[in-house]
Symmetry: C2
Subunit: 227 residues, 2 copies
């Protein structure tokens, strides 16, 4: 972390100018880069070296930098693509008939997204640290949308009235911070269920089964993986 990425003033993370004639190979390469970056950032978060992205895309580093002037720009481009639909989803949920249920479902979804795309979680975790204007705006929109959703859900009486958007953000950040060892998908779902139970009024759901070995009490299986 603390890559010290300085956001450029220009709002466009994508290639500059209107799409004048772009050479065919350039278009192809840009797609490849985006694809490779998505694949790698999904798994490793923002920590993937640019070299690896370039290698997977079968492209030189220079080509990556021609499309995205900085690693942060590439990161943001992917991020925006992920967050935008979430904002829409939150708005839809806020308009649902059962805002309480919709809220919980949305939170569940959000956590799945975090798990599927680690870079998103990294971004969430880094919230509050200097973000570019574009990212600040979109994440602000997300928070706004979730706030409205939360309000309506509380209005319906299904969600604890004393829960704040700050609580939700913090919980999401915590849940998103999925160490793959402690937090395999099934374990994560259990935790999400627990957290949701704590948000709901008078709820006590049946926790999803955890696939992980139960084994003798007090022994958490621990793999050994060196980077």
């Amino acid at each position: 972390m603390s890559t010290g990425m300085t956001g450029r003033e220009r709002g466009d993370a994508a290639p500059m100018g209107s799409e004048r004639h772009m050479r065919a190979d350039a278009v192809r390469n840009r797609e490849r880069i985006l694809e490779a970056a998505t694949t790698l950032m999904a798994v490793h978060g923002i920590d993937v070296p640019i070299d690896e992205i370039a290698e997977l895309a079968q492209v030189g580093v220079g080509t990556v930098y021609r499309n995205y002037p900085t690693k942060g720009a590439l990161f943001e481009a992917l991020l925006l693509a992920r967050i935008t639909p979430l904002v829409a989803a939150a708005r839809t949920a806020a308009a649902a008939d059962e805002p309480g249920e919709a809220f919980v479902a949305f939170v569940r979804n959000l956590c799945e997204e975090f798990a599927d795309f680690k870079a998103l979680a990294d971004a969430m975790v880094a919230s509050g640290v200097d973000l570019s204007a574009a990212k600040n705006q979109i994440s602000g929109e997300l928070i706004d949308a979730v706030s409205r959703l939360l309000e309506r859900a509380q209005g319906s009486g299904r969600i604890r009235p004393d829960v704040t958007i700050g609580d939700v953000s913090a919980m999401m950040a915590g849940l998103s911070h999925a160490d793959p060892m402690l937090m395999d998908p099934s374990q994560r779902r259990r935790c999400v269920a627990l957290v949701c139970d704590s948000l709901l009024v008078g709820a006590r759901s049946v926790l999803p089964q955890c696939e992980l070995s139960r084994s003798s009490p007090g022994a958490v299986r621990r793999g050994s993986r060196s980077s």
Copy 2:
């Protein structure tokens, strides 16, 4: 992360051999190093450069390395010092008259520890990644102790019977991951309270007040801090 610290076979992170004659200045310096490392790792976690530790200790880097053959060794030495009392606390709690309450109190305590000493949280988060034998053992002991505590608490009927030690570990890891921006102390306490509510049977506690500005709904204050 992924510093690639290779654990040495020797179990002692502290200076080698039995305490033969150590020169007075050497003793003094070792204490200084430990002190400086504690101070810095409490705030910055494992990411502090050795140089900074050395500087604060008013010592050369070489001196740090003479005492702790690797950064990981120093890290572990501090960690063990922190975890050991936690194990004892868990055992005491397990023997308490009200194991349910004791469990919750212990969890609360654990979270405070995480917040006070970021390196501990880093270690928790890195669980499952290659640890040295010494660390594996002590953290295994901690899990054992918490498991027993959990079992007794569940036996008393205060804690949900479907909660597992895996759930607790994962929740702690999430909670420990305190981004100072999203998770100022008061916000953290609220989250801990929420999580504890989700663990307890039929509980719904009053959430501690959050000091953070409430401001207009849907706007989370966001500071701008560059590393």
